[in-house]
Symmetry: C2
Subunit: 264 residues, 2 copies
Amino acid sequence: MLVIKIGGSKGVDLDRFLDDVPSVSEPMVLVHGANYEMDQVSEQLGHPPRIVTSSTGQKSRYTDRRTMEVFMMVYCGKANKTIVEMLQSLGVNAVGLSALDGGIARGRRKPQIRVVEDGRPKVLRGDYAGSIESVDTKLVTLLLENGYLPVLTPPAISHEGEAINVDGDKLAMELAVALGADKLVIFSDTPGLMRDVSDESSLISRIDRDEIGQAMEVAQGRAKKKVLAAREALERGIGQVVFADGRVEGAIRKALAGAGTVIG
Amino acid sequence: MLVIKIGGSKGVDLDRFLDDVPSVSEPMVLVHGANYEMDQVSEQLGHPPRIVTSSTGQKSRYTDRRTMEVFMMVYCGKANKTIVEMLQSLGVNAVGLSALDGGIARGRRKPQIRVVEDGRPKVLRGDYAGSIESVDTKLVTLLLENGYLPVLTPPAISHEGEAINVDGDKLAMELAVALGADKLVIFSDTPGLMRDVSDESSLISRIDRDEIGQAMEVAQGRAKKKVLAAREALERGIGQVVFADGRVEGAIRKALAGAGTVIG
């Protein structure tokens, strides 16, 4: 079992990326984002993105109700259905779902966030965001067993049944853990984890399970966060975590053949 | 088995409409539109709706690629996921899908349409529209058998795997026929079929199967089209077709108890 996450960044050509999917022989779940498109459509609809910094320094999208509506439009509408359409035209029987459907990924909504804006602490209310606490694999398993390829995207669902904005990488990881996946491949617009983010040739091609501690010492910023997430995934039973380049021709094939940063 | 269609017109309060769903005991499929919202968002995104009249006098939405993207956003994104969210918060395990997912409803794409604009015939190309030719019930049946409530919306899928804009009422009917439904209830912002469209008290409350011919003689415009569709549905094995008011409190309960126009 393979779980693949493809980001929603500008540099990824989805059409080309998905070309590889018919050649994958093992059962697979695809998780996607739509971050770049979300910013575009939000601007077009006159409700520009509001990226806030929490008191602990973490950046996130403030998701008021209107933002959640746009989020549904972009992630569950345009992005999800365009991917399903592309896969269907390749002969892959894809089924697009949000993690809200069938209560796939559930978590606690945190309607208030403490942020720092212009150097001053502030409380924002009405946030439709949260973190995943449990995954119900029933629906995804049902689809896999019946020959469908599940294509999943945030939002997830709160314990009260509200849509909540959750991190796409986190959704992919929680799904992979719950499904007992052998491999989790996270594609983005970089070649993988790099020693120096400004130098693509500084790619770290492999981190063995028992070297993660050392890797943490050299990793910086986003890379550190990714190594942390990978370590957690391995500890929770996933065989291997790969960070790979979604921009290249044959991206999935290359990643499955060992390209990118292989952790595990 | 019950198939319910709820339109996407301005007068329908979805939140109130869906309140009834938990009380329905038989297996059910919900089909929805989002027409009113589609017009709004198209305007907001600077790609206003283009309603064209075919050479035979039929009106339809010209769906170029950009319109299809907005269509996915509104129908499959905002409308579909808002309904799923509302149902989930009522404790109903809803799963939202387009008829594109899993190849549920397939048809022929007609990329060219002959229209009449300003009194002159014209050919428009690049239309993502078509009519449903077959329904694959496998996915919907799988969901029903496992306790999920399928919530479906256009688009459907062409034989080549492209998204095609199809009529929502037609999708509901084709699904009802393919699933062998006992009843198809089509809700809109009128009390049902009326002798005089401007007079809600002229509601036709019942049309027996063998009286459809007579009913056709008095029906006008849209009502005539609806009676025709109902006759076809009955001929193709559906037990009963009901046209009912989606605006009232307890709409589903009332329709199942005999309100609206009952045909069959």
